[in-house]
Amino acid sequence: MKGIGSVEPYIEVQKISFLRGHRSIFNDLDLSIPKGKVTAIMGPSGIGKTTLLKLIGGQIKPSSGRVLIDGVDLNTLKRRELFEARAKMGMLFQSGALFSDLSVFENIAFPLRAHTKLPEDMIRDVVLMKLHAVGLRGAWDMMPSELSGGMTRRVALARAIALDPELIMYDEPFAGQDPIAMGVLVQLIRLLNDALGLTSVLVSHDIAEALSICDHAIIIADGRVIGAGSPAELKRNDSPLVKQFVNGLPDGPVPFHYPAGDYRMDLLG
């Protein structure tokens, strides 16, 4: 794949096609995500970025093609093996997706209790360490309904790294965050990736933030990759579509107007 250089790929998406109803979301999509780096997947709204994360996590199956995670095709695994393989992945959902009936502490302890047989005092220590890493050790006994949007996402991040995963996926981590919360998240994503030796994939359309922290970026439009490479390479890219997206221009190859008939005819009949 272009742009990932000599780094070995952690995720390989090979000729994926995916239909939702009759609408084709991806058509023979190919991409690779390098190991140990922060990769940003960007693209206009509604082109299936979240769907792509779900395909990578094996939550939905492609109609054709395959996804290899560290050389393993999740879709060939049995249900139980698939759930075991997922213990090596963390995912931060757009809404945080904290369990609303459990406290912050219990939310983070949940994956630990499910996958390890650690004694209770050790679980307590691990949970407090993860909470400390996202700066919310003091909020351990709060309920999810008492947290602000930014705090919810940080708790969800602590839960996603509870099992020390190899891969962490972020679904629109910056959407709807105030500037301070956004700054905190940007810093955390970078820091956690480097400190824990993770492979991070983030899906976003906040171009400035995403480009500021990623090592590698992929732009998807019309169900295919239209540009990939380091942030600097993308900014130099000549393709009009990539230019429009990176610079946030309102009109270009992606038109401002949704396809419609002649304007004059519509008004005058």
Binding site: A97, L98, R113, R159
Partner: protein, 271 residues
Amino acid sequence: MFSINQGWRYSVLDFIRKTGRTGLDYSSSVGRSGLFLLRAISGLPLSLDGLSLLATQIYKVGVLSLIIIVVSGLFIGMVLGLQGYNILIDYGSEQAVGQMVALTLVRELGPVVTALLFAGRAGSALTAEIGLMKATEQLSSMEMMGVDPLRRVIAPRLWAGFISMPILAIIFSSVGIFGGMLVSVDWLGVFEGAFWSNMQSSVDFSEDILNGLIKAVVFGLVCSWIAVFQGYDLVPTSEGIGIATTKTVVYSSLSVLSLDFLLTAVMFGGI
């Protein structure tokens, strides 16, 4: 756009297409719900953790439904006592009111009304709860943490409904018989000895009580199955949750009433 002729042809084709699509959607949903039931039934974790999840759900589904079950049972029993007395007195056999109240409750009204109330009180709550967990991505996040929501969320709820329903039906019938006694014995003056002895001599354990219990078990399974499946399979939007909750109550009620006829025909109809 279309000429009249083309429009007519188009709407016929569209009708056929839509009918086919509905049929396909329906069959696939039946298949999915069947597989879902098998997985959920076999998925209950038999550990201490699993049992504590089950106990929590039995509390939510069963214990919290007690008030509506007890109050409805009492009133239905009282109405049965009153109506039974008024009809039987014309034949001079008002002593048989105990037998009538008990048989009506144990064979029919106990399981059926409990199931209908259960679908409205507990079934709709189960669907809405699971649906909201799906809409807020809690089920997805559980999957991504390598925990199967079918085992963790669905199985305890399904089993809780399955276990609670027969117990609720027994409570309903008992309270109903007590209500019938209050009206006919304490109010209308039926001789208490006759009330109880007539009941005792005419209610058969295997034919009446056991058959009533079998009905309650079947209704419990069907109602909980419909409730958890509708919650798990819904379109994760606020509108989707509303539709699924309504579906739970409608499908459960229709299934209970039609299954009741089938079961009654098999058990008491001499087939």
